[in-house]
């Protein structure tokens, strides 16, 4: 999904870079409003984990692979704005691996970061509203939202291509191909995201931003004290 240099013309790429830079500034501000000391290492780890899983390409069709984008996953773990920042950090590091164009960094931060994190989280929050208030709903909602976020990301690229593609092609065909293959990749994205969220929920549910409403950590403590014979 990393757009290399040359696919999108300079003007569109520069415009995307300006919007992405503004988005990062807003995301830092939004993140600073809620981030506590404990969440700083968790957000750093989330970025590192997304980098790792992006290297694990899985087969999706003959001669074609896909990999996690991770924006929805990061958003559900640490919040939508911090999640977008996680992907932005990953993309900046990946530039040193010659993955994703340097002039295309703004395009990639928008498509792979903001669209998946903010779009994916909005979808996740909407699904949470209609599903029962329990852990399994968080897992299901995260899987569906992450899967759809990949298609949203593909649509965002299509928009860039339609505006500033460096070669004129029949747009309908590009659109169908982009959406089709990314719907398949979205299945993988959904499975990996749901599995990861399920794993974190099973060991430390209190660390999942998207499941804060389920955290009831104080309920058991008084009973434990009584059983301990303090009274």
């Amino acid at each position: 999904m990393h757009i290399p240099d040359g696919f999108i013309n300079a003007g569109t790429s520069a415009g995307a870079a300006v919007i992405a830079a503004g988005g990062v500034a807003v995301a830092v501000k939004k993140t600073s409003n809620y981030m506590e000391d404990m969440q700083v290492p968790l957000a750093g780890l989330t970025a590192a984990f997304v980098f790792a899983v992006q290297m694990l390409n899985f087969p999706v069709a003959a001669g074609t692979s896909g990999h996690l984008l991770g924006g929805a996953l990061a958003a559900i773990l640490v919040g939508p704005w911090a999640g977008a920042l996680c992907v932005a950090v990953v993309l900046i590091v990946q530039a040193f691996f010659a993955d994703g164009g340097i002039t295309a960094i703004g395009l990639n931060i928008l498509d792979m970061g903001f669209v998946t994190a903010l779009g994916g989280y909005a979808l996740f929050a909407g699904l949470r509203k209609v599903l029962p208030k329990e852990r399994s709903s968080v897992v299901i909602a995260s899987g569906i939202a992450a899967g759809v976020s990949v298609v949203l990301s593909a649509l965002a690229f299509f928009l860039h291509f339609a505006i500033g593609g460096n070669v004129a092609l029949p747009l309908g065909s590009v659109f169908a191909a982009m959406v089709g293959v990314h719907a398949l990749i979205g299945v993988g994205e959904g499975v990996i995201t749901a599995a990861t969220i399920g794993l974190v929920l099973s060991v430390r549910p209190d660390l999942v931003y998207g499941a804060r409403d389920l955290a009831t950590p104080l309920e058991l403590k008084p009973q434990v004290r009584t059983a301990g014979g303090l009274s």
């Binding site: 980098f51 692979s65 010659a98 590009v174």
Partner: protein
């Protein structure tokens, strides 16, 4: 609220998992072009790609220059990437965290 040592253990286990994934699983990842590059090839805009400015980077294409073993080279590049991402992420989020303390509006309890 769980205690801090449980959180440290969780973070350490998470980092260990990320390192294990890039070191032991990424060498066996599917080598085919991803869906996006497949579309670029099939639809005919792949050739508009221009050279990447960091093609000569010692980490280019997820390999560590000088390490000949393909799987090991990829795995090690992944470990470097995971640690670099962690460091940059920690720096950015620590900056965001500190920013609030120095923001007088927030200190007064106002929504920024």
């Amino acid at each position: 609220m769980r205690n801090a040592s449980s959180t440290r253990l969780f973070l350490f286990a998470g980092l260990l998992l990320a390192v294990a994934l890039v070191l032991f699983v990424s060498p066996f990842a599917n080598p085919n072009p991803d869906g996006f590059n497949r579309v670029a090839i099939d639809e005919g805009f792949a050739e508009t790609e221009t050279d990447h400015g960091l093609n000569e980077s010692p980490l280019a294409d997820y390999a560590v220059s000088g390490v000949d073993h393909e799987g090991l080279s990829k795995g090690l590049s992944g470990v470097i990437g995971v640690l670099a991402t962690l460091a940059l992420g920690l720096a950015l989020f620590a900056f965001a965290r500190k920013r609030r303390e120095s923001d007088p509006a927030h200190a007064r309890g106002e929504e920024a």
